[in-house]
């Protein structure tokens, strides 16, 4: 099928898709007039039931915790899948290197790798500390502010990326060994499920909030399992992202070690 034919077919399909979209949107209540019962129902009950002031995180980790377990395992599987897909690549590449092809470490040593500029190195290294603190704070304050395990975990991973960006790739590798990251990711994902299963063991529904709810709504020690689950999710997301970047960086490691 030539590109022109493909484009014509797409035009027809897009017209049909647009027509269906417009028909569906005509049935929506209109932007800004959300009628549904769930929003006001949750907002009026969240402090009484969970002592958390962050309604979005309360929904994520308590009211709809079941969905969040599934999403977290998507993340887990994607990181594991990357290790599986790219590991075979590394084996093939190393074979080629031994036969003296153009991407051998010897050839890599003679490649001109531009050094990282000093301003980038200084700024990145200075920002590592504050970024890690902010990520940690976000992951542990899910019940109070617009924060939560997912955002905090990504920012924690960004702290590791900054170490790489400042040119210290080998320091990045030493600070994030794959074994430790695997354990951290497993602790995060398994911990979430363990918290839910412990509720089963106490003859309560799965993922029921059984820890003490605290007295002040929105304090760090309030809202029971929400804080604990958010912390575990933060660890898991950070480990998954650092693993993903580590997998993609291993190719450069093969070249860098020849040149540095």
């Amino acid at each position: 099928m030539t590109p022109r034919q493909r484009l014509c077919l797409f035009a027809v399909a897009a017209a049909g898709l647009a027509a269906c979209y417009l028909w569906a949107f005509a049935g929506l209540p209109g932007f800004g007039s959300y009628p549904g019962p769930y929003g006001p129902a949750i907002m009026s009950r969240v402090i009484a039931q969970t002592n958390a002031t962050g309604a979005v995180s309360a929904i994520n980790f308590e009211y709809r915790g079941f969905d969040t377990v599934g999403e977290e395992f998507i993340l887990f599987t994607a990181a594991a899948g990357m290790s599986v897909v790219l590991r075979r690549l590394r084996g093939e590449h190393e074979e080629g290197a031994r036969e003296g092809q153009s991407s051998a470490p010897g050839a890599a040593a003679s490649r001109q790798v531009p050094a990282t500029s000093s301003s980038v190195r200084v700024v990145s290294l200075l920002l590592v500390g504050p970024t890690a603190v902010i990520g940690w704070w976000l992951a542990t304050h899910a019940q109070a502010n617009p924060s939560g395990g997912f955002q905090g975990g990504v920012i924690l991973a960004t702290a590791f990326f900054l170490i790489y960006l400042s040119g210290e790739f080998l320091a990045f590798r030493r600070l994030s060994p794959v074994a430790l990251l695997d354990v951290a990711e497993a602790v995060g994902a398994g911990g979430f499920v363990a918290v839910g299963v412990t509720a089963l063991g106490m003859s309560l529904p799965y993922l029921y909030n059984y820890l003490p709810l605290g007295t002040i709504p929105g304090a760090v020690s309030s809202s029971g399992t929400i804080a604990l689950i958010s912390f575990l999710v933060g660890i898991e997301v950070a480990a998954a992202f650092v693993l993903i970047i580590g997998e993609l960086l291993d190719q450069s490691l093969l070249r860098r070690e020849g040149s540095s």
């Binding site: 002031t53 790219l86 502010n145 997912f150 993609l248």
Partner: protein
């Protein structure tokens, strides 16, 4: 203003799909998939918006104040982070295709059709 955000969502979906179909580079195709997925976030938040509502955090508002819907925000929130990991997996598949076939042009990757 009643339907404008939804029109923007439809536009983003169609533009993204156009990019996927007319792309000559697997990396560009994956980025267009990211664009299509971002339209669903705008749609989710647009459905839950309440005119004159505030963010659904009860730190300083009463539980009966007019706030936007927090349920769709929770859905969009986990979606955003999970999308990045799935995109990374797709990119690793593209890297493997490049190593195996030497090209990232979808028009030339005919061997994948079995």
């Amino acid at each position: 203003m009643q339907v404008f955000p939804f029109l923007v969502v439809a536009w983003i979906v169609i533009v993204g799909l156009y990019g996927v179909i007319t792309s000559r580079d697997l990396i560009h195709q994956i980025v267009c998939l990211i664009v299509v997925q971002s339209s669903t976030y705008v749609l989710l938040l647009g459905v839950g918006y309440v005119t004159g509502g505030v963010a659904p955090y009860l730190f300083d508002i009463s539980p009966h104040a007019k706030a936007v819907d927090p349920v769709v925000q929770a859905l969009a929130l986990t979606d955003v982070v999970v999308e990045a990991a799935v995109t990374a997996l797709l990119l690793s598949l593209a890297i493997q295709a490049h190593k195996r076939f030497g090209t990232l042009d979808p028009h030339e990757l005919v061997e994948l059709r079995g």
